[in-house]
């Protein structure tokens, strides 16, 4: 927002599954500090795009650059390590682990002790564990779910599970956060609260955000720029106002030609 530096660039990105082109020649970029929306009808290839950005799928053509470096071809965990974190459309928490352990897990790379130190319970081990425990508690508090830190993830109510997943994604100190339908299944109050949280993540934690969402008022009020996918192709790119008035977008959503 302030510094218009390109953080993420999507170049000619395409993928096909067994002859079916799920995403075709998509180009756009996200500036550092933006809240960026990715919308489109069901099956338009939005989540597939997320999966290519995070290395779950390998694009058949094109690439993704992050911070000026090509990330396509790297493994998912490596992409997380260089600063891209995500949530999932169908929540994927570590169900049997406690909320705090879910978050602490994502700090593995910055936790600095080896096997021997943990076996002997050295002060290094104790202090490192305490460091990430405190940081994880702060994140849970930031998301407003600190009181549930000791609950198994599977025992949290649905809305809290969504928040926990965001907390977990933030735990790896990402520069870019990908949110896949964060407001799905939420009521209007919860959705409004979520919008505040997303803004707060950008302001307080300095994280750029790319989100997929079906709730139009949520996207339009929150995002500074939006791209629209339809049948795997990018059909519009602009500010919420431009998107709203774009005839192609209206056609795609109404199912016309």
């Amino acid at each position: 927002m302030n510094e218009s530096k390109k953080l993420l660039e999507i170049n000619e990105l395409s993928i096909s599954f067994g002859g079916l082109n799920a995403v075709t020649d998509v180009n756009f970029y996200i500036n550092s500090g933006e809240i960026f929306g990715l919308i489109g009808p069901n099956g338009a290839g939005k989540t597939t795009l997320f999966n290519m950005i995070t290395g779950v799928y390998l694009p058949t053509k094109g690439n993704v650059t992050f911070d000026g470096k090509v990330v396509s071809g790297k493994k998912t965990y490596q992409i997380n390590n260089i600063g891209i974190a995500r949530t999932f459309q169908n929540i994927r928490l570590f169900r049997e682990m406690s909320a705090i352990d879910n978050v602490m897990l994502a700090m593995n790379k910055e936790t600095n002790y080896n096997l021997l130190q943990c076996i002997f319970g050295t002060s290094k081990y104790v202090s490192e564990e305490k460091k990430i425990f405190d940081k994880a508690m702060k994140l849970l508090d930031f998301m407003g779910i600190a009181e549930f830190y000791n609950y198994k993830a599977m025992n949290l109510p649905y809305g809290q599970q969504r928040k926990l997943e965001i907390a977990r994604a933030l735990a790896s100190d990402p520069k870019l956060l990908l949110l896949d339908e964060p407001a799905a299944g939420m009521n209007p109050t919860e959705t409004a609260e979520l919008a505040d949280i997303v803004r707060k993540i950008r302001e307080k934690l300095n994280v750029t955000i790319l989100l997929i969402e079906h709730d139009m008022s949520f996207v339009m009020s929150l995002c500074e720029r939006i791209v629209v996918l339809d049948y795997g192709k990018l059909i519009a790119n602009g500010t919420p106002q431009e998107i709203k008035n774009n005839p192609k977008v209206i056609a795609a959503y109404l199912g016309g030609e």
């Binding site: 779950v56 049997e96 897990l105 593995n108 096997l115 943990c118 000791n150 609950y151």
Partner: protein, 333 residues
């Protein structure tokens, strides 16, 4: 902070005392030969604690990592042969030779773990089950055919009986402690997250292949150690000692106790050492495997989480029970 440290020291102190008390009690039981008539001899108790090592280490792979391994006895075999060959051929004092032999056995098992683990642990799916099962069989073939080294099918005998009950007991306790610590560490969290959801784990920065291999190799190492202890307890090993059925016996301990519960593995290892001994005592030994298979199917059908689920016994929780109750504990299922 200081108060916490004091409490931890106190809990550790109590735990150490309990471990020693149990040792003294068992040692008395063994020395007085009180239970010898029903077959609970010193060999029996050693076998029990060796089984604990095996069950707890396999639980790391099958319970915590969520990968099925069917060749745990194969790694045990590697450890047993390596350790036995060292103590038979080396001419060193026991207090150097025996730890060295055990360690070498464990490390050799790790080497074989790498050979088995690398091709299949980078893949998703049930490949580990197949390859470990095959591995158990191949080890048998190799040990039978390397006649110059292993004396073929007739096996190695005259292995010195170094495995005194005390050694087995304390190594077993140490193993349980190390694996428990591992599970509670950042490494343990990574391993469990893979079981819970591979894709999410990887998206959180967990290197799947690295941690799968890590857990698998630790388990192999302890299986190798257990093999070394076994060889120096019985004094005789042959390729068929460590067959598929032994691997399955260990798996049943893990499943019965609860995949993902170290406490469960310990309890089940004890129970499944006692039961066959009692069956043998009652002349029903031939029904052991049939009974095991029924236990296995019944657990999966009616109680898939095993006896203990994912419960862990914790001394500090037990001691703090009163305090906890007032805070409204939230972590139980």
């Amino acid at each position: 902070m200081d108060k916490l440290r004091k409490k931890r020291l106190l809990n550790n102190g109590i735990a150490i005392v309990l471990v020693i008390v149990l040792y003294v009690l068992l040692e008395i039981l063994i020395r007085t030969e009180l239970l010898n008539p029903i077959g609970f001899t010193s060999d029996f108790f050693k076998k029990m604690f060796i089984n604990i090592i095996l069950a707890v280490s396999l639980n790391l792979v099958t319970g915590f990592l969520g990968q099925l391994s069917l060749g745990h006895a194969g790694f045990m075999s590697v450890g047993a042969y390596t350790a036995a060959l060292i103590t038979i051929h080396a001419d060193l004092p026991i207090y150097i030779e025996f730890p060295l032999a055990l360690l070498a056995g464990g490390l050799m098992a790790v080497v074989f773990g790498l050979i088995v683990g690398i091709p299949c642990l980078r893949l998703k799916g049930d490949y580990l089950a197949i390859l470990t099962l095959g591995f158990g069989e191949i080890i048998k073939v190799i040990m039978t055919n390397l006649k110059g080294l292993t004396n073929g099918a007739s096996g190695l005998n005259a292995i010195p009986s170094y495995s005194k009950f005390g050694y087995v007991y304390f190594i077993s306790i140490l193993t349980v402690y190390i694996i428990y610590k591992f599970i509670k560490s950042r490494h343990g969290r990574a391993v469990i997250s893979i079981r819970e959801n591979e894709i999410a784990a990887e998206s959180c920065g967990v290197n799947l292949t690295y941690y799968k291999l890590f857990a698998f190799l630790i388990a192999s190492f302890f299986a190798g150690i257990a093999g070394g202890l076994y060889a120096h307890n019985i004094g005789y090993i042959a390729p068929k000692t460590f067959d598929y059925n032994y691997s399955i016996e260990i798996l049943i301990m893990v499943v019965l106790g609860g995949m993902g519960s170290i406490t469960g593995s310990v309890v089940a290892a004890c129970a499944l050492t006692i039961i066959p001994q009692l069956l043998k005592y009652m002349n029903l030994g031939q029904y052991q495997m049939l009974l095991y298979s029924i236990i296995l199917i019944a657990i999966m059908l009616f109680r898939p989480y095993g006896l203990m689920g994912k419960y862990e016994f914790s001394l500090s929780k037990l001691l703090n029970k009163g305090k906890r109750a007032s805070q409204g504990g939230t972590e139980n299922e």
